[in-house]
Homo-oligomer: 339 residues x 2
Amino acid sequence: MSELRKDPVIGRWVIIASERGKRPTDFATATPKGKPGSCPFCEGNETMTPPEIYAVRSHDTLANTPGWKVRVVPNKFPALRVEGSVDREGVGMFDKMSGIGAHEILIETPMHDDFLQNRSNEGIMLLLDTYQKRMVDLKRDIRLHYIIIFKNEGERAGASLSHSHSQIIATPIVPKRVREEVDGSLEYFGYKMRCVFCDIIREEKRFGSRIVYESASFISLCPFASRFPFEIWLLPKRHMSDYSLMTQQESVELSECLLITMKRLAVALGEPQYNWMLHTEPNTAVPRNPWPDIRDHYHWHFEIIPKLTRVAGFEWGTGFYINPTPPEDAAAFLREVEG
Amino acid sequence: MSELRKDPVIGRWVIIASERGKRPTDFATATPKGKPGSCPFCEGNETMTPPEIYAVRSHDTLANTPGWKVRVVPNKFPALRVEGSVDREGVGMFDKMSGIGAHEILIETPMHDDFLQNRSNEGIMLLLDTYQKRMVDLKRDIRLHYIIIFKNEGERAGASLSHSHSQIIATPIVPKRVREEVDGSLEYFGYKMRCVFCDIIREEKRFGSRIVYESASFISLCPFASRFPFEIWLLPKRHMSDYSLMTQQESVELSECLLITMKRLAVALGEPQYNWMLHTEPNTAVPRNPWPDIRDHYHWHFEIIPKLTRVAGFEWGTGFYINPTPPEDAAAFLREVEG
């Protein structure tokens, strides 16, 4: 079973996934990419994955058989597991806790080479809707303090299978980066009585130069202090702290904004590998929720990072990033693309 | 000229290096690796770099000619420059400042394929001594709040030239990750009146299981909450906040501990690519130094990270790491290696 360990200097938690137990020689082996036929995520190969947790499928089909459009299964090699209790323990001066949580794979499409940017609006909506459903379900478990949904596209972005999929990890603590963002938004709200993300949207609309795409309800932009070339944030214009507060109509508009943004990125940069992460509010149902007013000060959004540069010693040593492409230039390139 | 920009939510600064001004097509080109003959870091090619800032060379040779052992030159495409003043400016709700600083390349050896793990103790000492000299010199400039020295070995680790080199970047602010570490050590000192790193060394000696190598004055270990497989910290046993406080005798011992540690890593993992970062105290000579008692609570050290896994959406989205190799296992593998 995995365990969580806390760095005694800066308080960062890490997951020590002993089950994956990699030995020195395990790192040399090439990444399996999966081919149609042998790919566990392809339609027809449902028995190659653990039994499904959720699926969008025709009413006349059985679970774990073909006929689905989106399918959610537990990760075969999970970093965290649902079974067990949250045990906290000191080991000398160090702190650890049991690796309780969830680790699910969301198979986005039954077809092997059906990349996101080539799908229809409806295909994207199905994905975004599944994100919402799994998030709502996982939040019922009040041991789970945070649910992160993310997508690794391509080997450089950390994907071990090429068939399009997203991942859902639920953690028994609020991760450091999320905590910083929520605390930062609370501090800003304390000064100004306004949401910092709403203010960013207002400023970006005034400047115009960093906007990638804008619709009635959503906006995608290259943020002022982008860490990476062509980094993009996608935000709802309406103030909403949680992804699950999005209406059905907004979900339709989000799929359109996301699809256009990803198509532009694919065209401008030649289908780059990328990560995206959905940043939403922590589970407010947990005991002693530290952010009682989070609906006022936090604002959910997507962060999209194309893998164009290497993160090196400078970034690891300092948490400071060197970005060789000003976000104004990146946004201009992306706006020029038809789509 | 580069500029520094601050993220309005979490306060992270980034360097927008407009001079490097990468366009979408620039990312597709393969990384130049440099070959003997055309490599600007090789002996005989001194005119291919900007003029040297510092070198260890025979007394009968001229600057920028052959005959050196270690050579420091300005980066040809610097992220930050020394010229100019530190201008701070608001742009609407956003904050930026001018990209003042320094960016130097430390060429570790005149020979192209002379990898660190194959060098002599004396070769390593020369390198470590040059780190000290450049750091002391750069700290005289009180516009520079932090000096980070790091090494990217291999393309996956972010190196664009294969000839062994380290980099020195001096920044006009203390980077977020460093600030967290210094603040963390101050908080611990406030509770316990002890240095957290000294306590870590004591605990690790008591456990024994995470130690890689130990000499009279230095220790290398896989930290309790390692983010990455085979992550290693190397610390002086004597409490010292700053790298420049190290004595000549300690420098000899450090080169031995570092060399043995790196040899073991090279043997156990088949010469992996890696980053290392020297974490030392911020420049205390700056105006309004926020850590007047830093000599009590901070403790310099190296962090060494082999590039074995990919950092993916989960890590970027949360600042939370999944490490598939428990540090106790990693240290055991490294202890088993002869060297």
